[in-house]
Amino acid sequence: MLVPESLYQRRTIPQLTWEENAMHYAAPETAQEASRLLAENTGSARVLAGGTDLLVQMKAGMVKPDLLVDIKKIAGMKDITSEDGGWRIGAAVSGSELGDHAGVCGDWPGVVEAFELIGSTQVQGRCTMAGNLCNASPAGDSVPAMVAANAVARIAGPDGTRDCPVQDIPVSPGKTSLGKGEFITSIFLPARGTSGGDAYLRFIPRTEMDIAVCSAGVSLTLDGSGTCTAARVSLGAVAPTVLLVEAAANALIGTNLDDAALEACGAACAAACNPITDKRGTIEFRTDVAAVLAKRAAKIAQQRAGGRS
């Protein structure tokens, strides 16, 4: 069969000029400079930390930034520092770096286990909690755990720095509340205190490397008698953003997490769910399983807090 000449002629690709095609890369050494570059950019600038979402999106053609601002050369971005009894985690700290930090692992095992569920070993070598947060997927694994932990993001911007609770960063799938020129410089995990524990569980149909169908994070504090004095319960992948479910936390507070309290917690979670049906799970499945995960995570958090299981 004759092959049409057009198929074996070398295809000429139209030459784009640099102005049309160029992506610039900047690695500023201060947050102020990074913020200025982002603020002055009139195109589609993006912040680069671990790049495990951004570079994949770029390769897929989903985003075409004209400027990448790599924040890893800014002092402190790779640091984990003790502060007011809690931990300040730089925005470029990777999953494997956080997992190697005994202090954070000891205080916030739920946050660490949630973060370490993201991707493969190779992805863990690069991915960051701040990136997971700013990717603003409702299914981001570290986000419910950070919300349960009452984590606070520190944000640099043209007007200086400000602090914002983690749950107020995502506003809808793929969208954050960060303004022009703003980016997260660190995540603060508050002081754990004594007799506290946290846990994160997700459902996936395989054993590893998958996106949460639904998930739950719980952080709680017990008193000397094992009574829960404070709690935060969060759910992932059951609404456009991660949910903080106060009614579920209130069902635990004042109890020793007996069966009735756990049932009430689960019921509050199910009531808060507002999921979609997609190929990974139905509305009914996500609602049921999110409630089960919240109850189980509460029991693990209770054990970690030193209470009876």
Binding site: M23, G51, L55, V56, T121, Q122, M209
Partner: protein
Amino acid sequence: MSKIHVSTTINGDPTEFLCEADESLLDVLRDRLQLTGAKEGCASGDCGACSVEVDGRLVCSCLVLGAEAEGAEISTIEGVANGEDLHPIQRKILEHAALQCGVCTPGIIVAAKNLLAKNPDPTETEIRYWLAGNLCRCTGYDKIITAVMDAAAEMRGA
């Protein structure tokens, strides 16, 4: 626009290169530095065939920009053997016939070496989870896991 000048260290050797802003470290290694051991499988961070170490951390070089290599210490499959002497992991992969087409093999060796540096005595389950980001469509994985366990045992005894 001019290319970006990058000074880095690859397998212990100070190295300089020029690259475009959107060029991956994998493309730099393969196309500019002729270090073609790291393979491009998926180019989206799923398959692990392009695994290298950057500052001691295992990463997919397809998900790192060449420009990000500035000041970094990079280790690739080309630095695993000592001249003609194969690394125990390489030798055990051959002994156990733990490869067929071989495209995944450099990434698996780099990943396994990174694991054994951190954990010299991993369980089978730990190896399987560690290598979960290294896809192999030929072997069915069992021989790879056996080879890594055998290499770990030899390295502990050595």
